[in-house]
Chain length 490, copies 2
């Protein structure tokens, strides 16, 4: 029997086991979803703590060494001090011949209440028409359990583990991953020293049916522009006509940032944008993306562009500027004849590779100060989350692509995310390892929304995908290792 | 003794009486200020009711016939139904040879709490350095009592009443004069049928020391511009770059309304503005107005104009456009990467004589619809308060000018108000009588503010002013009447 057919047989046995244990895997997910591990509402913090213990126990049951790292506490805006949930650092296997794959996931969730518009209790996993509804089903408890159950399958079948596993599981992702970056920095030379690859499964496919691999995300540079004429609000009757009104200044400034086609008018801003190569441009053609469906989901009449390729290019690899609102101006219903004394415009630029965020900051400042008003102007960038881009020719993506082909019978879409994925960028920057986003949830899973779900199909096939990926990455990594040795010998 | 010297003697006796009864008049004011007749806070409505009864009793004590007109009730936004305070319609004297002067005032007040920054209890009238501090001292209890005490002086001295008096005293002015306009309409053919002149004393001088007569105010046309792309807010990551963002549209639209010099860019808007005649232009030269002091009061570094005349022209007789804020956009502290689906820009135009508000509404709509976006646009004008302009050559102003010269030894400033005075316009439009604003409070009285006051000097000399005005208007009116008869005979 050739190595290829022995591995095909092994895969077959694994898939059969996973299919046969569907009910157990769904029971596991039901147990996890039942924990209200909402990291945003302070009174539920103890449930996050309980969830971390459950996850740690589950890893220990795999045979992993589990370390719950205490991150101390944090203070809420109201002064309340809350303990931070520990981060789980887990390890399973130390075979020097095998690659070490680190999986990142989180087991905290967004808030959810039945009365927000759920058809079922959000903390009782409920299957309807092949979909498993519940808070955290797809974000991110389902994918974390799918990974764990894929590992468990090898253990249960007494198969050799194809890779060494590391786990980073946190409980504060929905609240900004407080303390995580510091922990990664601290563990760079220890926990991460022998990690070869990092896999994150905390996003969704672009389509409802076709699998995807995510290799990049835009950044998020947020700007505050504050204009102030004095310390007290004025009245449009007693001052209107003689004052340099801050809100008029601010609106002129905001209006000067972008034209009616969406083109950003900040000088130099497009200089840093990576040129679009033919290969990349061509890759957009095969992506499954229903423009009309996406337009309906957004609820708008018309997009700025008419083709799938233009839409995806402008969502993923060109910068965009959005204005979010104004602080300090009148915002309530009704009428108020106020001239606000201090207003702060808030906008953000979704920057893309290879824009430099510090250069962008300077460009925005230079543009803002091109004005002519006696009012005081302050420009700040309270957030400068960087874009992320991975090399799709990396082994990691090759292995995942093969595993997807095996499980789903088709090649994945190679996609980016128009939003920022801080954790991908953070892992890549801190550890300097290859990072891949390997989603198993479908586009319509409704993460963060009412009626969040993962389909039974995606949950179970996703478990198979992870198992197949372990085998593929192991094979490719060993081949590379052998090839390297051969080359050395030659 | 000539008629002129007999009237001078009468004036002297009246002034002596007023000076001698200062303490009584201040005691009256203290009693009225002690009533928390705040018409805005629902739980104080019963105090407004009590205040109306006090005022009615005070008029009855003058010998006036008093009618408390029930206006029913009104509903608050929270659903609570509150009774409206009755409006007092009072009458004193019916001499067909005498003119009938109707005085409008209000005895409700703005909210006040000591902890808001008062040095004294706002409901305990307190004299410090010649100033009488208390809520309602200048707005409007002081002036109402000054008028009543001026009438009382004639009665106490057993002098013939120079004019017939009518009184309209309300208790909802600070809450929008609910029901007043309807009452005026209803009483047009009855209560107002024999009224010759209407006097309102519910505003302030332009300066702290120099008396003023107010003959006009700007209007207030408020506009809402609503831009909507769909029913749900979007996210700048997943939609930024491909959406026609409503807030970008709105900001471009708002920015197109006015240039950096404050010039309004709505075509045709200046066509209706009354031409500035030499006589009017010259009248601004003598007005006492400290530009530097006004700039400090506004708390701004620089005005749009450098001279007193330009400032007053742009505050009083040229239109201005102010943007107040945006409803539906992000307005809180911090960051939110939202693309709001529906935003409503709120701006107002202080229109001036002889702009036509319905024409203005059309001009704003025409300008707004000059755009190119697939988003839905709605333009509305929820408020169109008209400007007001009186004829300063009217008898009413002549009489007041003479009375001011007699009491204060100088000619008044003829001023306008940049804000809207709805009640002046309302009385003029409904009754078709001559309306005059005859303030007795000084510019620094702080109506609506903490530390509201009227000075003892202004309160007492204001009482004299009203008494002198009764004699002057009576004389001028009778002269006119005699002249008319003579002319008829000739």
């Amino acid at each position: 029997m050739s190595s290829s057919s022995s591995s095909a047989l092994e895969m077959e046995i694994i898939f059969q086991y996973i299919d046969a244990h569907q009910s157990d895997f769904i029971k596991d997910l039901k147990e996890w979803v039942a924990v209200e591990s909402d990291s945003i509402q302070p009174h539920l913090r103890k449930e996050v703590m309980r969830m971390m213990t459950l996850a740690a126990d589950r890893l220990a049951a795999l045979g992993a060494t589990v370390n719950l790292v205490n991150l101390g506490s944090h203070q809420l805006p109201d002064g309340q001090v809350l303990p931070l949930p520990s981060v789980i650092l887990g390890e399973l296997g130390k075979d020097p011949q095998s690659p070490t794959v680190c999986f990142y996931g989180h087991v905290d969730v967004q808030p959810a209440k039945k009365e927000d518009g759920w058809n079922t209790d959000p903390y009782t996993l409920t299957e309807i028409d092949g979909n498993l509804y519940g808070r955290g089903a797809t974000d991110n408890k389902g994918p974390v359990l799918a990974w764990i159950n894929a590992v468990e399958t090898f253990r249960a079948l007494k198969l050799a583990m194809p890779v060494n596993f590391k786990f980073v599981i946190e409980g504060m992702e929905e609240a900004g991953s407080l303390g995580l970056e510091k922990l990664l920095e601290e563990e760079k030379q220890s926990f991460f020293s022998d990690v070869d690859y990092i896999v994150i499964s905390d996003n969704l496919w672009l389509s409802n049916k076709k699998p995807a691999l995510t290799y990049g995300s835009r950044g998020n540079a947020c700007f505050f522009v504050e204009v102030e004429c004095g310390s007290k609000d004025l009245h449009s009757g007693t001052s209107g006509g003689i004052i340099y009104e801050p809100l008029l200044d601010l609106i002129a400034l905001l209006d000067s940032l972008v034209d009616s086609t969406g083109h950003i008018l900040i000088p130099g801003i497009y200089d840093g944008v990576a040129a679009l190569m033919e290969e990349e441009r061509k890759s957009y053609e095969s992506i499954e993306f229903d423009l009309e469906e996406h337009r309906n989901n957004c609820g708008v009449k018309k997009f700025r562009y008419g083709t799938k390729e233009e839409i995806l290019l402008h969502l993923w690899r060109y910068p965009s500027l959005s204005i979010h609102g104004i602080e300090g101006a009148f915002h309530e219903p009704g009428i108020k004849t106020v001239i606000p004394a201090k207003v702060t415009g808030k906008f953000s630029i979704r920057q893309v590779p290879h824009m430099d965020t510090s250069v962008l900051k300077k460009q925005v400042r230079d543009k803002s100060f091109l004005w002519n008003s006696p009012n005081q102007l302050k420009v700040s960038m309270p957030l400068g989350a960087e874009p992320w881009l991975a090399d799709v020719n990396n082994l990691l993506y090759k292995a995942a692509r093969r595993a997807i082909k095996t499980v789903f019978g088709e090649d994945p879409d190679f996609i980016r995310d128009g939003s920022t994925i801080p954790v991908a960028r953070m892992f890549q920057t801190v550890t300097q390892k290859s990072v891949m986003m390997l989603p198993i949830g479908a586009a319509d899973d409704g993460e963060h929304s009412q009626k969040e779900k993962i389909s039974r199909h995606n949950y179970i096939e996703g478990t198979k995908l992870f198992a197949a990926f372990f085998l593929e990455i192991s094979k490719l990594h060993r081949n590379l290792y052998v090839t390297s040795q051969t080359e050395t010998i030659n």
